[in-house]
């Protein structure tokens, strides 16, 4: 076996050659390992016999462009995910249904530089894609509670304000804060305080819709963005959250710790910026705190007067 042939079969990437009719002429061992289709089975037959999903306008367009221009085509993982539907190998199976691939396609030339066939290189980038996905999650999440972080909230808030104004839809915001949280820390210790933060966040997270956005805004302060929601429904939700937290208790090293929350609600108005919307919810929250805690206050010009 020639040296190049040995390399062809032992490199840790997939190598395929197709003739101008898109019949397979070369199929390396890597492709066999991941597809279960041996070279003897596939060489000589159309690539579409074994991979009918490749028979798509996009793939054909790329083949044509390689054959006609001698162009290279790059199938990035980000846009295409994969060309060949292989199972992921290793421990990434739970994250991706298919092996994530970065593929390159280009021309092979014979005599007189005429293009006789197409080569395809297949690289397994599942591991990288897994890290990327993890990193992307970490950038938007609060490490302790798993809810979104403030940075993400601010981005979402800007985007939602713009979207809701453009389409004249209603958008509400709930700011909430755990009552006497300092006392929890002082009495039961910070680990217990962390437990309480986690269970409050989990409780609220399970009560809101998927399209809503719960973020940890500060220490024990959370903010919940409610797209397509008017102030009446936001108030009802806030009340439901209040009762839910009031009813639950967190187990900390054998002790049951109970907390309550105060909530402030505001709705996007014509002249609002993201900042003024936040500020009004915050003022309503302050009013809820000032008038006894464990309650919901909706910002209305008459009920909340700036000091």
């Amino acid at each position: 076996m020639s040296e190049l042939r040995q390399i062809f079969d032992t490199v840790n990437i997939g190598l395929v050659v197709l003739d101008r009719q898109l019949n397979v002429t070369q199929w390396n061992r890597w492709m066999y390992q991941h597809s279960g289709i041996a070279s003897e089975q596939i060489v000589g037959s159309s690539i579409f016999d074994h991979f009918p999903e490749l028979d798509s306008p996009g793939f054909l367009k790329n083949c044509r462009s390689v054959l006609a221009f001698g162009n290279f085509s790059f199938f990035s993982q980000k846009l295409h995910r994969f060309l060949f539907p292989f199972k992921p190998v290793g421990s990434f199976g739970s994250k991706f249904e298919h092996m994530q691939q970065s593929c390159t396609m280009g021309p092979l030339r014979g005599e007189n530089q005429t293009i006789t066939s197409i080569f395809i290189v297949v690289q397994d980038v599942t591991e990288l894609a897994t890290y990327e996905r993890k990193m992307a999650e970490m950038v938007v999440r609060d490490a302790l509670t798993g809810s979104y972080n403030r940075r993400h909230l601010e981005e979402r808030l800007n985007a939602e304000c713009e979207r809701h104004r453009r389409h004249a839809r209603r958008l509400s915001l709930v700011m909430l804060d755990i009552d006497f949280f300092k006392a929890v820390n002082d009495t039961h210790g910070h680990q217990c305080g962390d437990q309480v933060l986690k269970s409050v966040a989990a409780g609220i997270g399970s009560a809101i819709r998927k399209s809503d956005c719960l973020a940890r805004y500060g220490g024990e302060e959370f903010c919940c963005l409610l797209p397509e929601t008017g102030v009446e429904n936001a108030r009802a939700l806030a009340e439901q959250l209040r009762r839910q937290v009031e009813a639950m208790s967190t187990n900390c090293q054998g002790r049951e710790v109970k907390v309550t929350i105060s909530l402030g609600v505001s709705e996007l108005a014509g002249t609002d910026t993201p900042e003024t919307l936040l500020k009004r919810a915050d003022e309503a929250l302050y009013e809820a705190k000032r008038t006894g805690r464990n309650k919901v206050i909706v910002f209305e010009a008459e009920t909340v007067k700036p000091d």
């Binding site: 367009k61 221009f69 162009n71 790059f74 846009l79 295409h80 995910r81 280009g106 992307a136």
Partner: protein
């Protein structure tokens, strides 16, 4: 042949003519083979030292605006890098062009990622078609490295430093792309080594001989 690596006026004219033919053919092929209707206008080409590119490009575009630069290396007798510059926002315009291919792409992916990837695909197609045709006319065959997007930024910052080897020659083609009736402005230029320029001069000479 001399060691003089400046391009004479006559040679520049020939190159201009080759670019015109190449871009016309590239557009026709793109339409016929991959169904992308693209108008590639090729106004005057300019030859300059890569070191002077920054000043030239600053004169061509608004430095305070964001740009996207796509770079792709090509390898043949003629070798170097092709750069395609779009004003930022072009990616969004182009996403719809690749339309059906992209629907399957995930909704979860951030819009800016999608935009970058789209720029790379479009860059690859355009650079491949243009460079491919030019080199074909000059009887060369090139292969390509994967395109990369040099991050979106203010033109001032991106072009200021280190992007090009200052001893290389640059062939600038200011081109207006018009895709499927969407106007997208782009600037294409090739940066090539001195060896390549020497080869280019010989190839231009050979090209002219067929008409003599």
């Amino acid at each position: 042949m001399t060691d003089d690596l400046t391009i004479s006026e006559e040679e520049a004219d020939i190159l201009q003519e080759i670019m015109n033919i190449a871009f016309g053919k590239a557009a026709a092929d793109l339409a016929e083979i991959i169904n992308i209707m693209v108008n590639l206008s090729v106004p005057k080409i300019a030859m300059l030292q890569a070191a002077d590119l920054h000043g030239y490009l600053m004169g061509e575009m608004d430095g305070s605006q964001g740009i996207s630069v796509i770079e792709q290396g090509f390898w043949g007798e003629f070798r170097g890098s092709a750069f395609l510059i779009f004003q930022s926002g072009a990616g969004k315009e182009l996403i719809s062009m690749l339309g059906s291919d992209m629907e399957s792409a995930f909704e979860a992916e951030a819009a800016d990622v999608l935009e970058r990837e789209t720029l790379m695909e479009v860059g690859n197609i355009l650079i491949g078609a243009c460079v491919g045709k030019v080199t074909e006319l000059l009887q060369d065959v090139v292969t390509y490295s994967p395109p990369r997007v040099i991050v979106e930024n203010k033109a001032d910052d991106v072009l200021a430093d280190g992007l090009f080897d200052p001893t290389y020659m640059a062939i600038v083609l200011k081109t207006l792309f018009c895709f499927n009736e969407r106007n997208v402005n782009g600037l294409l230029f090739l940066v090539a080594s001195q060896e390549s320029i020497a080869w280019l001069k010989r190839a231009l000479c050979v090209f002219m001989e067929q008409y003599e």
